[in-house]
Symmetry: C2
Subunit: 457 residues, 2 copies
Amino acid sequence: MSSEKIPYKIYLNEDEMPKAWYNLRADMKQKPAPLLNPETYQPVKAEELEAVFCKDLIAQELDQDTAFFEIPEEIRSFYIMYRPSPLVRAYCLEEKLGTPAKIYYKFEGNNTSGSHKLNSAIAQAYYAKKQGLKGVTTETGAGQWGTALSMACSYLGLDCKVYMVKCSYEQKPFRREVMRTYGASVTPSPSTETEVGRKILEKHPGTSGSLGCAISEAVEKAVSSEGYRYVLGSVLNQVLLHQSVIGLETKAAMDKYDIKPDIIIGCAGGGSNLGGLISPFMGEKLRGEADYRFIAVEPASCPSFTRGVYAYDYCDTGMVCPLSKMYTLGSDFIPSASHSGGLRYHGMSSTLSELYHQGLLEAVSVKQTDVFQAAEYFARVEGILPAPESSHAIRVAIDEAVRCKETGEEKTILFGLTGTGYFDMVAYEKFHENKMDDYVPTDEELAVYRNNLPQIK
Amino acid sequence: MSSEKIPYKIYLNEDEMPKAWYNLRADMKQKPAPLLNPETYQPVKAEELEAVFCKDLIAQELDQDTAFFEIPEEIRSFYIMYRPSPLVRAYCLEEKLGTPAKIYYKFEGNNTSGSHKLNSAIAQAYYAKKQGLKGVTTETGAGQWGTALSMACSYLGLDCKVYMVKCSYEQKPFRREVMRTYGASVTPSPSTETEVGRKILEKHPGTSGSLGCAISEAVEKAVSSEGYRYVLGSVLNQVLLHQSVIGLETKAAMDKYDIKPDIIIGCAGGGSNLGGLISPFMGEKLRGEADYRFIAVEPASCPSFTRGVYAYDYCDTGMVCPLSKMYTLGSDFIPSASHSGGLRYHGMSSTLSELYHQGLLEAVSVKQTDVFQAAEYFARVEGILPAPESSHAIRVAIDEAVRCKETGEEKTILFGLTGTGYFDMVAYEKFHENKMDDYVPTDEELAVYRNNLPQIK
């Protein structure tokens, strides 16, 4: 089909949609380091995780060898409500930039959660339901993950309890309201509902919360409630597994038209979208079948890849979750209050961390005013108002396309457009009114957090 | 292709998209009554409208005979950025309702303006640009139209000046911010920028504005500014013409799978979405080729079809626009402050009014708490959080499907899902907190406004 004009939007037919998720770790020679028990520092066993996580999800989390996991029928029925998502050829952007590059983006924002998070939310809710649980608990920062989980739980008839980072809870009342529409209960974190929340409030009475703290509260609530488990929207291997649906659809759509990307770009907070998008392409690279450049884009104000260290660290402030070996800024790190949008987690997926460590993946950090410039430019040219997170990838895709213009190279650039910014207009407003700064943590600041890393022999 | 399983979402290929708009009036034996000059009460001539409207749009407005207008290449290039929109088979809704009915909806919300309004916005902006104008002015109530026009103007490099009904401006700062992202200037109406605005403010100092007043301001601004014209997002024949793209795509998608709807349902404020959706189907009915039931759904708090009169009336509060023969509540009518969402215009498209008058179209009115119940139900079952306006159609589609369950009839129901409710969470919040009432105007109240209709012999 390579001689056909490539349409603006490539949609797979429903029968072309992936029937199995792809587990990238199966093709890694050097596997990601195992999770450690936070008390014994020994590799965590499945049964030790069962108080916190659902059984089937633990199996997916710990399985480094099985390449494909069948997507259960019920999850595929849900996917079909909002998937396949379009692979868009950015003809307008190319023309406006005057670049010889060919730009594609996989757009995950055409669903009510507004992002790719729904891909893993329905999977995690499904396994919780399968296990006969009453409900799940989770944290949410910017709100996409909480919204996605609310939708999934509502669909399956599960209870959903969300701890929302307090500053987001206050700045994003509409996100909260969407979650309520889907029947979730939403609590600003830190709260007085949990021991860890009360402790943090006592230590920092005026705190506006953090992801690490909200995670600790959600975990405590799950462990202390009959019939509940905790679920997480990023970072974990299981999440990357579910998000592989993004990459698999993208690759199938590209293969249909004989398109081969040279550069694949994704924003990176915990790594779920990037890991999902690159999965099948990185698999080919690991198996020596093809080569691609992969670029992770992170905020300069939360630079875990580019300025963090590769070490075991706590995943949450309360230190109740297993330890993960990852690029981290330290579990106490919280990005500056002037940082808008998500991508504010202190660490990074252990799988992506290992790939980065092996030099298979590049990383760059970008400043937020540059990100919002790209966002507004993109909105005007391509007609989609992007999420601040997604706009990190847009920024670098544009930069690469401009480089192609300078060199005359006709590269094919693929990036992940993870979501829409409809609930992020406060950040856009700050940008329009020049109230957005580009604070970047100093080396001295970062050193303070780094000194708190657990000392593992 | 009728034996195939019908997919969840039917997308036309890009080369199957309509290349011409369909002008329903061409097939009407009894045409809509002509617009009248507000001073002479004589049928308005094209040249009398040229101070206010763009030339090509006036030609479309007044042409009752040409059945098809080619869609210019540049507009089709824009359409392709967000169209074709999916025709969705509501399998989940059918299952949840346990109805033998087959339910389809045409979903127009997958674009940043969040609604179908973009279909006419780009057309109107295109003709303004073609005429060499600097910019356009308009009004917006709920904000969808203003957002759509901002996007279209940004794409074409036109200036865009929006008068936003003051209560919306205050309640929906994020809509305003989206418009700013697209470079539009947004003024709360009534404002002190125009004579008509100043007059209204003097008479009603605390007013929160109305659509009729915002229209008057936008018209005055256009007429008094060099190189500007006024554009309107609904009611007018030209808008129904552009919106026929919705119906044409729907019909093409249904024909592909040999689907024939029995009932076609749309919400109705000024009539743009309903008129667009039903166009090709109504055309068949008018030509005696097929029969369908058409249902317009309007808010009980603004019941122009069901409780208005069919008469010539002013389109705007300032009485500067031509008079239109339509179902109207009187140009001073403003829905109760407790009314949430759009569909608040006092009148109705003259084309739809004539069809309703001839008994070719039915109308029902629904109360807003019933509408929000349907909205929340739909959001949970179909995964899309609908706009309050669209939810009027959902309400009646569900009611009809439930009726099929009772009678055992396997009817095929089609409705227009015009947009998403992401910027309407204040209304959802009111609903969740039981702060929403169902105020319906009394006959005495309606009589007051009706007495102010112009006396035309």
